[in-house]
Structure formats: C-alpha cells, structure tokens
Amino acid sequence: MRVETVIIGSGVAAAALSQRLLELDPQASILMLEAGPRVKTQDFGLWENFLITRDTPYKPYLDLPFPAQDREGENANTGIASGEMMDARVMAYGGSTLHWGGWSFRMKPEDFRQASTSGVGTDWPFGYDVLEPYYGEAEHYLAVSGDSADRTVPRTRDYPFPAFPYTLQDRDFANAFDGLGITHGHLPIARRGVSAVPSRHAPCQTTGTCKYCPFGARFVAGDYLDDFRAWNDLPNFEIRLGAIVETIIASGSGRVDGVIYLDRDSGEEVTVQADRVVIAAGAVESAKLLLRSPAPGHPNGMGNQGDMVGRNLITHPFFRFKGKLLENPKKLQAEMDFPTLVSRHFDTEAEQAKGKFVLVPPAEAVKVDFLGQMRAGKSRSTIEAALTGPAELQLHGMIEIFGRPGNRIENLIGRNRIGLHQTQVSLSPDGDHLARMDEIRAIAASVYVAMGAELLGPPSISWRIDHAASTCRMSDDPAQGVVNSDLQVHGLDNLYVCSNAVMPSIGAVNPTVTLGALALRLGDRLANGSDRASQGLTEQVPV
C-alpha cells in the first residue's frame, strides 16, 4: 500500500494537521494510524455511569501505575521526581483530548526566547510573531471561550466565544488577588459557546462533567475527525485503529519510505509506503518511535545524531495548596467543572529565570460533598451546617521547569496493555526547585490570609507528565535539536514530528493550543510546499 502522507497518532495535532491538508486538497491521500481503540463518546448511558461512579469509559486506556511491591504495573521511573504516567495520557482514538481539561493558553513572547531572555533553557527557532496568526486559528479550531479584551498576550484575532464569567467562588479569589496587587483574568477554556456563526457542534451546557461531556462541547479530536469525515467527501482519507507503529522505514539517501505497524487484532505486521510521514504521537511515543527507527547516518535512531531524541524532557509540576476557610456563609460550592479565573502575574519575563508559574483556583476550590454526606445518611440539617461552616479551600498552579539532558524518555523492554512499547522515564527536579516552591508557598499563604482563610501545610506537588514536551525539540542547529523550524527531522527530508515533543519550552501553561497552532502551520507549509524539503533545501547532516 502506498499513500501520500502517513500520520501517526489521532490527537489534536493529527486532527488539526489532517483537517488542514484536506481542506486545502480534499483528494489528499492520508492514512492515519492510531495504536489504541475507539472509545464511545457522547453516549448518555456512559455519561450516567460516569455521573454515578466517576469512572470514564477511557479508563482502560490509561497507563497503569509504575510497578511496586504488590503490583506489576507498567513502565519504569529512574528519576527522583515521580514522572508518573498513570492518568497523564489516553492511548485511544482522539488521544489525550479524551480527558484534557481544555485550558487553552497561548505562550508569551518571552517563552520563545527563554535562553536569550533569562540565560536558562533554550530558544525556539522562531518568535511568537511567527506563530501568532496560527494561535488565532487554533483557538477557533478548538472552540475556545476567552476574554478578547485581555491583552496579557498580544493577539490579532478575537476568541470565537466570550469568556465564562467568574464563578461566585472565584470572585473571592479575585478580590484577594486585587488586594495583593496580583493581576488576574479569565481562564481561556476550550468549551464551545454560542455566537452568530452557526455550527453543527453543540455548545457547552455547563453540565459539569467535562471529563466525559455528553454533548461534545469540549474538543475531542476523535469527535472532530468523525464529524469532518461524515460531513465531507474525502475519498483518500483513512483512519486505522489498533495500528501500533513499530518503526519508520528508512529508504537511504536522507529519506524515509513509510512505516511498519503491528495490527493489534490480527497480530500481523503491515508495511505502508508513504511519500511523507508525520509523527503526531505525543512527546513520549514520538521520541520512542524515532529511537526504534535507525537509518543510514542515524544509527541511534532517526534524528538522533546529536543524542537529543528523548532528552530534555520537561513537564509542568502541578501544585495544590490546601487551606481552611473559617466559614462559608455564601454556600460556595462547585457549580462548574472548569475554572474561570487564572493569574499569570508570575508568568512574566521577570520570573523566567527562576521558573514562571500560574495560579488557578480549581472548579472545586471550596470542597463540599453533598453526595457523600447523603450517601452516609447525614441529615439535612447536618449537611447544611457543614456547608456554611468551615470548609477546605484549594489553590492550584503549574510551574515551569527547564530541559536537562538527563531528564529523558526511553523505550523499555515489554509491551503495555495497549500493545505499545513500555516507557522508561527519568525525571529529576533542579536543585533550586524546593526554594522556588517556598516562594510560591508564601504567595499562596498571603492569598489565603486575604480571603480570611489559613494555609494548611506545604503543597502537594504532582510530577505527572501530562504536559511532557521537548523530547524531540526544535532547533535549526542539528547538534541542539531533533527537528528544524519546519518540524522536519534533521537529515531526513520527508519525516516530520508534530507533537509537544518539538517544543523547546512550554512556559508555565498548557501546551495544547500551541500544538494546535504548530499543526496548522505545518499543514499550510506542507500543502503550499513552503517547507524546506519541498523547496529542495535538503539538509546534509554529518554522518
């Protein structure tokens, strides 16, 4: 079998890229290969089951925890930080968009020149202004609701939908921020709204069960791919599930010839020849696939001449500060399932050298559990007294870390329950991380005091690799990166990586909108032939 383009993966990057290529040429020959199965979305029965049990239908396609004394587990961790993979990604059609929260931030201009500005980390090979128009397109593609008047980050195009107003719960945090001079704004969120532009997709009904939305109002790549195929005539676009790509086929002379994948149902190996291969398989699997794919001039894996593939792993340590609200007369409680408020006050150039961070009061900032109390048989009066009495408070956030060669992703012998090769994660914090967290703790304490609450102890910090990135980072210098600014793998004209793996840095914010922007830009460049390979600007990488 021969196709024009093989896209490996079916998440946001694969969906955006394929849609862009097919919008420009509906006859384009594209084969999308997804290792995982389909999960039924927008099903009312499954939604009710989620309501009752909090079990999502994609739970079987999450990584198992690392092995421990009394459990077999999957994958391995050799670093000091947990680098936990369980719940970090979904290995199914649609990828991690099946479970993502939809936080839709743009990186800031200084994030693209991290090393030049702060002396730490590394620079992108292009600036924010190059990606800015694609950020606008990505926000429309993902159906982001946000505050177009907020110029914290420069923009030339409004959000497609207005921001959700602060919840009553978030108002108290906003007041505290105001009193402390901490700037804040609406958190841009991928929840389709209502506008004058008609759409076949349903708007958010504020159902508050976002991890399994019954309406599909939160972007899920598989839903958008299904709709795109159903509403258009795309005769040469095919998606295969249960297709585990084992290796990229090298053809010699600086090109690849296709892929070999394992068909999970039949157990057979299938060879697909392609004019072009795009790896859109997330930061973990993209790096692992390159490492498993040697080629002439690339004995340690494609693009790995500089020993960069899999290295410089970054993510966002996610912290939670618990507090105690002394009383709750306004009966504050979670009425939504996504946050409406964010402070990017510490997401600035001045904070970059130490690691920027953002503060987000979660949807359940005030923890109230009517369901648990009723199930425990508590009386109405007891529940009401608990509601207006002392309550647990939470303030969350994410902090930026910097790429280090020793923080890496590698293949591990053995298959996981999906059939993918297992993963070895090595992730360790920098020595000054604890000192930085102490600074953040002091800020959280002052916020709680301003709210009439008290901080309860140190934060819990999760090093789960939801936002894993930089494992195939961009650099126009082959010694410093794996792909160039066109996302083309160094030394291979027709092999591309389009995942969080290519981002040299991710600032302090979720990388999904940035990834969408990169995917749409890649689609334009491939379709218009403006990428270097199409222009015959092939690379000569020293063997």
Partner: protein, 161 residues
C-alpha cells in the same frame, strides 16, 4: 464493532423491569427527595428515572437482578417496619447491622445499587438547589447565552487586569 449506542453484549435490547418493581423503584426515588426535604415536584423526573434504569441495565445486565432483588428487600423492610420507618432505616446513618429482615447481602444491593445511585441522580436532576447553588456537576445548566444571565452563580463584574 462500532455501535450507535453503548450497550453491554449481554444486556437486552429492551430492558424488562416488572411493573411492581418499577413502582417500588419510583417510590424509593421519591422517598429520597422527601427524606432530605427536597421541595421540587419529583413527578417531573419520572421519565428520566425510568430511562436511567434502562440505561443502567444496558451498561450492565446484572442491574436487572439488582433491581429485582433490591425491590424484594425493600418491600420486605417496609412490610416489617412500615413505610416511614423503613425509609428512615435505609436512608439514615447506618448502624453497621442490617435492619431485620434484611441480610447484609440484600442490604448491600439495596444501598449500593439503588439508594446511592438514586441519590446521585436526584441531586443532579435538581435536588442540589436545596443547598444554595443554581448549577451542579451533573445538571444540565444550559449554555452561556449572549445577554442572558450565566447558568451558575457569578461574582459581581470583575475588575480585570
């Protein structure tokens, strides 16, 4: 194989619940609202409740058995203690001992598969309003419409940065 609606392979296409059980299940659902003094008229939820029962069976065929066994247990509890006391024993704080004539197995089915699930549904359908909110995680609050109040409690207009 892709199906248009998720259903367990062993679940019947048309769930069958005996009329007597359907009535018992509905009365339990109403009793939950009464026990926690939920003021809204439960009758508006009857069709949703029946749809919920059918969906649970579609997800897991064992629910046909759970519902029947649970109803038998509830009817025996009512026969022994009278309706009001039976619901008080069932919905209030549990002592750890099953109230007679129930055994621990039938009590577990009744509590876990009926009572606890119906509480979650009742709250999500509108019972949550008793506790001050106008939206709830599980309730269809509606879209954020231009010019209309938000479908959740908001703060006053924020002084945004």
């Amino acid at each position: 194989m892709y199906r248009s609606r998720a259903r367990h392979n062993l679940s019947p296409v048309v769930p069958r619940i005996a009329d007597e059980d359907l009535q018992t299940l509905w009365k339990l659902f109403v009793a939950i609202g009464d026990h926690w003094e939920m003021r809204e008229d439960a009758r508006t939820y009857r069709l949703r409740h029946e749809a919920f029962l059918g969906n649970r069976i579609a997800m897991n065929p064992l629910y046909q058995g759970y519902y029947h066994k649970g109803c038998e247990a509830l009817r025996s509890l009512i026969e022994q203690h009278g309706e009001e006391e039976a619901y008080r024993l069932l919905l209030g704080e549990q002592s750890g001992q099953p109230p007679p004539p129930l055994d621990s197995g039938s009590l577990e089915i009744l509590r876990k598969r009926l009572v606890e699930e119906f509480i979650a549904v009742r709250l999500a359908l509108g019972g949550f309003r008793e506790f001050g909110g106008i939206n709830y995680r599980g309730y269809f609050g509606g879209a954020l419409l231009p010019g209309a109040p938000a479908p959740y409690r908001t703060g006053e207009a924020a002084r945004e940065s």
